[in-house]
């Protein structure tokens, strides 16, 4: 047992660390008022992109639905085609209770339509509110 132990050096060091932090600025943010800046690649709720003319990019090829590990996406193509050749989806449903935001849908999309957005506050009181249909997914384009 040395002098340092008798004079509680170890305990004093600990107190010094905590008092140092006592006078430092809090690291946390006050969430609903302040919000974190999201990274560019942030994976939030999906939306469907549109091209310059405002027409949907999605051609209802169902690649995203196939690759989705949880089967959260359901795509049905519309019978009528735009300009007689471009297919568009009639229904495009994403079940957010199943989605695990893995990015596979965005990666697999050949036309670059489905994209992970920055929406992350998805709490809901009912199961129905967790479903996203075609119209809602299109709204993601500001």
């Amino acid at each position: 047992m040395n002098l340092g132990t008798i004079f509680l050096n170890d305990l004093r060091k600990g107190l010094a660390v905590t008092i140092k932090h006592f006078f430092s600025k809090p690291f946390t943010i006050r969430y609903p008022e302040e919000k974190r800046e999201l990274a560019e690649r942030f994976r939030g709720v999906q939306y469907l992109k549109i091209d310059e003319e405002g027409l949907p990019l999605c051609n209802a090829c169902s690649m995203c639905a196939k690759v989705c590990p949880t089967g959260a996406i359901k795509v049905v193509a519309a019978k009528e085609k735009i300009d007689g050749k471009r297919r568009v989806p009639e229904t495009f449903d994403i079940d957010l209770t199943r989605c695990m935001f893995c990015l596979f849908c965005e990666e697999s999309c050949p036309s670059g339509a489905i994209t992970m957005g920055h929406e992350f506050e998805t709490s809901a009181l009912s199961r129905e509110e967790c479903m996203r249909n075609y119209e809602q997914l299109n709204k993601g384009n500001k």
């Binding site: 132990t5 690649r41 590990p69 990015l103």
Partner: protein, 372 residues
Amino acid sequence: MVKVRELTLNMGPHHPATHGVLRIILLLNGETIEDSKPVIGYLHRGIEKIAENLSYHQFMPYTDRLDYLAAPSNNLGYVLAVEKLAGLEIPKRAQYIRIIITELTRIASHLVWIGTHALDLAAMTVFLYCFREREMILDLFEMYCGARLTTNTFRIGGVPYDLKDDFIKKTLEFTDYFPPCVDDYEKLLTKNRIWMKRTKEVGFLSREDAINYGVSGPTARGSGLDWDIRRDSPYSSYDEMKFHVPVYPEGDVYARYLVRMEEMRQANEIVKQAIKALEGSEGLLAENAPKKGLKKIKKAPEGEVYHAIEAPKGELGFYIHSKGDSNPYRLKIRAPSFVNLSSISTMIKGNLIADVVAVIGSIDIVLGEIDR
């Protein structure tokens, strides 16, 4: 005549110090533990069964949910096993990126460990400091792949993105910022007499028992088993990195604590080296990787592979039995926490109740991985 009766105490599954849903049934004599029986499975999701019914590619996000504190590590273990099966050669740059991300993961995982371990022994402040640093690492993950916890970082055959300059700058800033933080934790704990009393000569596990119980990772290195998969059977270019593997022969909680503290510093060094190695290296995807965004392996060769990596908790192994389909016929996850936890009865026998939480903290279990 005094009648002595043993007391059966049920600890968990919702006890504050059992790190999730672990349950331990303790047989007590006073406060001394005569016998114990861990009960697990409260978080069983049948991930191995899920794997049998998904393609190799689709199973990737599920590996995040094993050891949810070190998701990129699980991704790496799985990806390497599939690449071994498919015989893919990964380009250098992708390998370095994988090293950077997984070593940051190791730091993040160890930060949660030291935080919760100290919290179990009532030093709550360390917990908050650790989470502050972990938050910075999670920000880096978010910058790289868009998610913080369940990252789904890598892809079979390589990595999805290159590192941006911004990311490299921030990572280098972090590596400079981090070592003084470890010094702070050490000031609060390492030489603290209360901490030493609580951890020294508690939860003893001998080297023989460690091998016998299949204990791996820092827990084994705290028992004097000089074995680190990164060094001894290197994968993903770890052979190019210079790092020191800390080994302490004491086999108690304090030894495991020292091992992990040193590992955090070493991981920090590896990140620096890997960033240096990144310069001039090329390639994000394997030549023969399934093209177009690595959609899926259409057909894997028939055969069996086992690939183990050094996850933050220990040896994380993926055993894949393939029958040549697009999905594994059987996928077994050798979870380090599961195996490490099986030694707990030996460690806590003869100790007091207060030591149980110290030991649970010191073997660093994650129930998502144990119950799968």
